[in-house]
């Protein structure tokens, strides 16, 4: 059963509002009068397939989004915002990625996000530390030592991470819960340590089954009992477990004799930024504020990399899509379930068509399909 003109018109109007486009601007893009757009939106005029296609392109939507219900997490997010006001960039990106991931989950029978049991929201710093230990177990990482390859590890527990450069004006990260699994979007414009911290923070939201979370500035919330601050604490504890940080800090400060070298070594091996390390040292009582401030201002330089023989990692370098998701898109393309153009869309335009595999020849007997 199709959608009536009134419901479709209303959805076009809502999408136009979210895209921050006026009726006049949309009319120009579609090639009809502004009054025709007004009539379409009020259900007095039917839209044609060509007009719907142009409307979708103008509003950076996909055609089917006008007719399909949005995933529940997106609906609850929209309801919390002013109706008709433009969506922030991260929300538009979250909608696109969520819908595309759901599409792939519906059509590819081999991709199956792990189902993770929802954990209770921690209420104290100690609770956040406990949740981090639980997370390490889930991620199959030892309770001490660095946690590298975070993107692959969170994907294995059902949270698909996408790292895309959203620009300096955007939020750091967002998480959307799906029926099974979830999607995390990290602003790839952040430096590597901050990207990992952001993803660790989103894993916290995912583990307590938060429907939809947008984090504008991670680790800038103060107050140990505040919800976001507890996720920050969880993220630091996940990346810098207390017991092993204590041991390596003591070992390096006594061996190197200076806190700067110790900090550079540890930040490198644990793949965290200096601000995260400094804050963690304070909360564990391993450094006093003046020392921590010096560490926060430290910059790892080329000489450090050479002299200390540091391994430089670039986890979540944008654009990065979950490998399992990319594989599923390629399966859909190879089986001719989707076109090359659709594959590009699903891969969020991070590929070009010449990167797609060449489709094999068909069997000679298939000629009868074409007669």
């Amino acid at each position: 059963m199709g959608m009536d003109a009134e419901a479709l018109g209303r959805r076009i109007g809502e999408a136009r509002g979210r895209a921050g486009v006026t009726q006049a601007e949309l009319a120009t893009e579609v090639g009809i009068d502004r009054s025709a757009i007004a009539k379409i939106e009020s259900g007095q005029r039917r839209v044609s397939a060509v007009e719907l296609g142009r409307t979708a392109a103008a509003l950076q939507m996909r055609i089917e989004w006008f007719l399909d219900d949005a995933p529940h997490a997106l609906v609850s997010r929209r309801n919390a915002q002013d109706p008709g006001s433009p969506s922030p960039r991260i929300d538009a990106m979250a909608e696109r990625i969520t819908r595309e991931v759901e599409f792939v989950l519906r059509h590819d029978d081999r991709i199956t996000p792990a189902a993770v049991q929802a954990r209770t929201m921690p209420e104290t710093a100690a609770g956040a530390e406990e949740l981090a230990a639980t997370a390490r177990n889930l991620l199959r990482v030892p309770l001490d030592g660095p946690c590298t390859g975070l993107a692959e590890k969170v994907a294995a527990v059902g949270l698909f991470p996408f790292s895309l450069d959203l620009g300096a004006e955007s939020a750091d990260a967002a998480t959307v819960l799906l029926d099974t699994g979830g999607v995390a979007i990290v602003n790839g414009g952040l430096r590597v340590g901050r990207r990992r911290l952001a993803l660790a923070h989103e894993l916290g939201h995912f583990l307590v089954a938060d429907d939809y979370a947008v984090d504008w500035r991670i680790a800038e919330t103060l107050g140990a009992e505040h919800r976001e601050a507890l996720f920050d604490r969880f993220a630091r504890a996940l990346l810098l477990p207390a017991q092993s940080l204590r041991a390596v800090w003591e070992q390096h400060t006594s061996a190197d004799g200076d806190t700067r070298t110790a900090a550079v070594r540890i930040a490198s091996s644990y793949r965290v930024d200096m601000a995260t390390l400094a804050r963690r040292l304070i909360e564990l009582g391993l450094a006093a504020r003046p020392d921590a401030d010096r560490i926060r201002a430290t910059r790892t330089n080329r000489a450090d990399i050479v002299e200390l023989d540091l391994v430089v990692g670039d986890e979540l370098a944008p654009p990065a899509l979950p490998r399992e998701y990319e594989r599923a898109v390629l399966r859909l393309f190879r089986s001719e379930s989707i076109t090359a153009a659709r594959a590009m869309d699903l891969l969020l335009d991070t590929w070009t068509e010449d990167m797609l595999p060449t489709l094999p020849q068909r069997g000679e007997d298939q000629i009868w399909q074409y007669i």
């Binding site: 839209v47 719907l52 996909r62 055609i63 089917e64 379930s337 989707i338 076109t339 153009a341 869309d345």
Partner: protein, 183 residues
């Protein structure tokens, strides 16, 4: 083979193949008393291409091809369902319109590409390709094997990815008894 009553809804590709060879008149004869339709999304693609490729203008001007805008609730919801699999960035909307019209109106889609044909089968939409019309034209004696061979070989190799090389269609047509012995 031969004509069966009903409605045929054409994608841009098959019409372009016939027009390029100057065979639109032949196609009209092959269509016979069936109704031939193009949805608004195909009209739009033809218009966009007509500036560069003059033969597409002939398709737009063909009086026997009825233009239909997809505006009905069922047509649009089918259109969206096919677009979900095939369309992106304004591309492939022609074939989405063809499948949607065929599905909503019980017509036969005339389409060559793999993904829309696979989708047509999954959604119980009757489907035919350019090659099918070439065979009909051959069978009805409207076109000779010599004329069709090059076009058919090209289709087999590039669009259908079938293991036939130059002269492959002629050989296959002979084996199938599609060609009268004097040709």
């Amino acid at each position: 083979m031969g004509a069966t009553p009903g409605v045929l809804v054409f994608d841009t590709g098959p019409l372009s193949h016939f027009a390029q060879q100057g065979w639109l008149g032949i196609l009209r004869v092959v269509v016979g008393d069936r109704t031939a339709v193009i949805p608004d999304t195909v009209v739009d693609e033809l218009r966009a291409g007509a500036e560069q490729r003059v033969h597409l203008k002939l398709v737009l001007d063909a009086v026997w091809l009825e233009h239909r805008a997809l505006t009905g609730p069922d047509e649009l919801s089918e259109f969206a369902r096919f677009a979900e699999m095939l369309a992106a960035k304004g591309r492939n909307l022609g074939e989405c319109g063809v499948l949607a019209y065929a599905k909503a109106n019980g017509a036969t889609a005339v389409i060559d590409d793999g993904p829309p044909r696979k989708l047509a089968r999954a959604h119980q939409v009757a489907c035919k390709g350019t090659l099918g019309f070439l065979c009909e034209a051959l069978h009805d004696g409207l076109l000779s094997i010599d004329l069709i061979s090059a076009v058919a070989d090209h289709l087999l190799e590039s669009e259908y990815r079938l293991p036939f090389s130059t002269g492959g269609f002629r050989r296959w047509a002979h084996e199938q008894g599609l060609i009268p012995p004097f040709q």
